[in-house]
Amino acid sequence: MNPQDLIESVTSRFPDAVSSSHVFRADATVVVTPEGLLAVARFLKEDPELALNFLMDLSAVDYSAFGQGHARGLFASSGVAVAPSFLIPDLDPWPGPPGERFAVVYHFFSGTQRHRLRLVVPVPETRAAVESLTPLWPAANWLEREVWDMFGIRFEGHPDLKRILMYDGFEGHPLRKDYPVAKRQPLIGPQN
C-alpha cells in the first residue's frame, strides 16, 4: 500500500480520531487523538489489509522548544535580521509540529505488506498521558517505560510503569527540553 492509501484507510475508518495526516518524504503520518489511539492501533494490527504487526518504535518528542534554537550573538549589519544561514529549500514542506507540547510517536511496520505508518499522538503538558499499547504488543512495555522515564508521559494501563534507563530517585525527565543537559543527580561522588 502506498502512503496515501494507508492514510486514507485509517482516516476513512476513524474520521473522529484522526485529527490530521500528511506524507512527508514518503513517510505516512497520521495524527491521532489520545482517546482514539487504542482503537486505531488495534485496527492497524488486526486489519488484514494493513496488517501492521510490528510496533517498531515508540518514542516521543518534546516540541516545547521547536524553532527556538539558542540565540547566538549574530549581528545583522544592515539592522535587519538576516538568517545566519541558508535553509535547504523544501518543495514539499512538512506541516509542522502537531500542536501540543508532547507528541508520542509510534512507528508501525507490516511484516507481510512491507509498509510503514507513523502514528503521532499529541499530548498536552497538563495531562501527559496516553493509553498503553501493551495489551496489543508486548514490545510496548519497555518502550513505554522509556518514554515515561525520558519524557514523563504516563501510559494508562501499563502493567509496570517505572523508570528504565535512569535510576529510582532521579528527578525530572531528561529528554524534556527544559531539563538542562548537564544537570547531574549523582548517586555517589561529587556533583561533577
Partner: protein
C-alpha cells in the same frame, strides 16, 4: 499608494518607497551590501538585483522606486544568476581571510554565497594586494583587501556624524577605502562603521580576535551609560572562559529602535561596560571580613527595627531599576530616601549622548525619589522639589542624625570628599554599602553587600524622554552576588514588612498599580522596544520599521 506585486504577494506602499523596502514589508529579504535603511541610497554594490516584469534588464532593488502595477521577482533564476555574477566579481579579489577575519560568521559574503552563490570559482589570476590591518582610529581597524567598496561607512561619516573622515580612493580594481590623509576616525560614533560594514573590512579593535562570533550569545538590553537609554544587544560568552580573558561581555551592538537610537550607538556607551567583569565585589563583608548574606541581612534588619524611621537614611541611585527604587521607597517608608546625588553633568551632544549619566533618573523622579533638575529640558515629568537630595542625607549622616545609612552603589569619597566620607562612617551607627564594584566607600562601610550589575538582573529604566524600557537579564550574577531587588525583598521580609511580589515582573505590576505614570503598563506591553509613560513626550520617530 502604488500597488506592487513582489514574488506573487501584493503590497501597497507609499510613493517613493523602493522595491527593497516594499519587499521587506512583505518579509522578503533581498540581499544587499551598500543599501542601509539609515543611510542614503548609493546603489553601487548591485547585489540586490531583481527581475521586474516588462523590463529587459535586471534592476537594483534598492534604488528602484515602486510604481503602480509593478511585478517583481526576487527569487527567479535570472535574478539569482545576476547576483551570482555580482558575488563572483566581488569575491574575485577577496583575500582568503575567513580564518583570521572577525566577521566570519556574520559576514554577508559568506551568507549570500551559501544562500545563492554556490558556484565553482573560475578566478585563476593573482589577487590584488592592498593594505591590511590599518588602524583608522581608536576603535576601528581597516583591512582594505576585504572591503567591497559598498561605501556604507563613507556615507555614515558624511550623513550621520557629518565628520567625513572616510573616502574611497583610486579607481578600478585599485579602488580602496581609506581615511583622508592626516585624519583619524575618532568621532564619538566611530564604531558604528564597524556595525554597518557588511564584510570584515572594518573591525573593532577592542574585541578583535577575542571571540569568534559564533560562540557569542546575545541578549537584548538597554545601555545604562546615559539617560538616553539606547537599545543594544549584549554579546557575551559564558561557556568558553578561556576566551576574552575570562570576561563575559565581549561586545555591544546597537539594537534598532526607531524611537530611541535608530541603528546607532555612541562609543562611550559601547565601551563603558568593563566594570561588569572587573573589580567586582564577590562576597558579603563585615568591616572587611568575609561574612554571609544571612548575617548581613539579619544585622541590617535589626538595626532598622531598632532605630527610629526618621533616623534611617538611604542614598539610592538612579542606576537602580524602577522596581528596586519602588521597593526602597516602600520598605524605607518614612526614612530619608533619595536617589539623586550631586554629580557633575557629563558630555552631551544633540544626537544620542545625554549629559545625565544615570539611566533611570526619570524613573526616580516619577517615583518621587528625586527632584526636578534645574534646567531640565525634557519637561516636568514627576519629581517634587521637597525630596531631599543625597547631599542633604549625607549632611544629616555627618552630623550624627542618622543611625542607619544605606548607600546604593555610590562612592561617598568621590561624591563628598574623603574627609566627609570618613565622618559619615564614624557618625552613622550602621553604614551599609551595596554595590557591584570595589571603591573607596567599601573600606568605610560596616556592611558591604555585593549586588548584581544591571546586566545580571531584570527590571526597567525610564529614559530621559519618559520611555520605560526593560533591561532584561543577560546573564546570571556571579556566585555569592544577589540582585538588589531580591536583597530588598528579603530585608522587607526580615523587618516584618513582607511584600507580595517575588520577582521583578510582579514588583513592576505593583508599581504600575501604585504610580499613575506607569498605569496600565506590564512587561509584555513594554516589550523589547519600550513604551512611553503616561504624559511623556517621548519621541516617536517617523521612520517606523518593522521590528525583526
Amino acid at each position: 499608494m502604488p500597488d506592487v506585486i513582489i514574488d506573487g504577494q501584493e503590497v501597497s506602499v507609499p510613493r517613493g518607497t523602493t522595491v527593497i523596502q516594499a519587499a521587506e514589508q512583505l518579509g522578503i529579504f533581498i540581499p544587499r551590501y551598500c543599501y542601509h535603511p539609515g543611510l542614503s541610497t548609493a546603489g553601487n554594490c548591485r547585489i540586490c538585483l531583481v527581475e521586474v516584469e516588462k523590463n529587459p534588464k535586471l534592476q537594483v532593488a534598492c534604488n528602484l522606486p515602486v510604481t503602480d502595477g509593478m511585478v517583481v521577482h526576487t527569487r527567479g533564476e535570472a535574478a539569482e544568476d545576476g547576483r551570482r555574477a555580482v558575488l563572483e566579481f566581488l569575491l574575485a579579489n577577496h583575500p582568503l581571510d575567513c580564518p583570521v577575519c572577525d566577521q566570519s560568521g556574520e559576514c554577508d559574503l559568506q551568507n549570500f554565497y551559501m544562500k545563492f552563490g554556490l558556484y565553482d570559482p573560475r578566478f585563476h589570476e593573482h589577487k590584488v594586494k592592498k593594505k591590511k590591518a590599518v588602524q583608522l582610529g581608536p576603535h576601528v581597524m581597516l583591512d582594505q583587501e576585504r572591503c567591497i567598496l559598498c561605501s556604507r561607512c563613507v556615507r555614515f561619516t558624511e550623513e550621520i556624524t557629518e565628520t567625513g573622515e572616510l573616502g574611497i580612493f583610486n579607481r578600478g580594481d585599485r579602488a580602496e577605502l581609506a581615511i583622508y590623509p592626516g585624519g583619524v576616525l575618532d568621532n564619538p560614533y566611530s564604531t558604528n562603521v564597524v556595525d554597518i560594514c557588511p564584510v570584515g573590512a572594518l573591525t573593532e579593535r577592542e574585541s578583535r580576535f577575542k571571540v569568534r562570533v559564533w560562540y557569542l550569545s546575545s541578549a537584548p538590553t538597554v545601555c545604562n551609560g546615559c539617560s538616553r537609554g539606547c537599545n543594544m544587544d549584549m554579546h557575551f560568552v559564558l561557556d568558553r572562559p578561556h576566551l576574552n580573558d575570562g570576561r563575559r561581555v565581549v561586545r555591544v551592538k546597537p539594537r534598532h529602535n526607531p524611537d530611541v537610537n535608530q541603528w546607532w550607538l555612541c562609543d562611550a556607551g559601547r565601551y563603558g561596560l568593563g566594570w561588569i567583569d572587573e573589580g567586582r565585589l564577590g562576597e558579603v563583608r563585615e568591616r572587611g571580613a568575609t561574612s554571609t548574606w544571612d548575617a548581613a541581612l539579619a544585622a541590617i534588619a535589626r538595626a532598622m527595627q531598632e532605630s527610629d524611621r526618621s533616623r534611617v537614611g538611604v542614598i539610592a541611585s538612579a542606576q537602580l531599576t524602577c522596581e528596586e527604587l519602588f521597593l526602597i521607597r516602600e520598605i524605607f517608608d518614612g526614612a530619608r530616601v533619595s536617589a539623586a546625588v550631586p554629580e557633575e553633568p557629563g558630555a552631551c551632544d544633540d544626537f544620542l549622548v545625554e549629559s545625565d549619566k544615570n539611566p533611570n533618573t526619570q524613573g526616580a523622579r516619577l517615583l518621587g525619589m528625586a527632584g526636578p533638575v534645574i534646567g531640565d529640558t525634557t519637561g516636568g515629568l514627576g519629581g517634587s522639589a521637597d525630596v531631599p537630595d543625597g547631599q542633604a542625607i549625607a549632611q544629616a549622616a555627618r552630623s550624627g542624625e542618622l543611625d542607619v545609612l544605606w548607600v546604593f552603589g555610590h562612592d561617598l569619597v568621590e561624591l563628598f570628599g574623603a574627609e566627609s566620607a570618613h565622618e559619615i562612617a564614624q557618625n552613622v551607627g550602621l553604614l551599609v554599602f551595596s554595590g557591584t564594584n570595589e571603591n573607596a566607600t567599601v573600606e568605610l562601610a560596616q556592611w558591604v553587600v555585593p549586588t548584581a550589575a544591571y546586566l545580571e538582573k531584570d527590571g526597567t529604566f525610564v529614559n530621559c524622554e519618559g520611555r520605560v524600557q526593560r533591561i532584561g537579564r543577560v546573564f546570571a550574577p556571579p556566585a555569592g552576588v544577589r540582585e538588589d531587588w531580591s536583597v530588598l525583598l528579603e530585608l522587607a521580609e526580615r523587618s516584618g514588612r513582607p511584600r507580595d511580589s517575588h520577582e521583578p515582573r510582579t514588583i513592576f505590576a505593583a508599581l504600575a498599580a501604585a504610580e499613575a505614570a506607569f498605569a496600565g503598563l506590564t512587561y509584555e506591553s513594554i516589550g523589547t522596544l519600550g513604551a512611553p509613560v503616561a504624559g511623556s513626550a517621548a519621541r516617536v520617530m517617523s521612520k517606523a520599521e518593522p521590528t525583526p
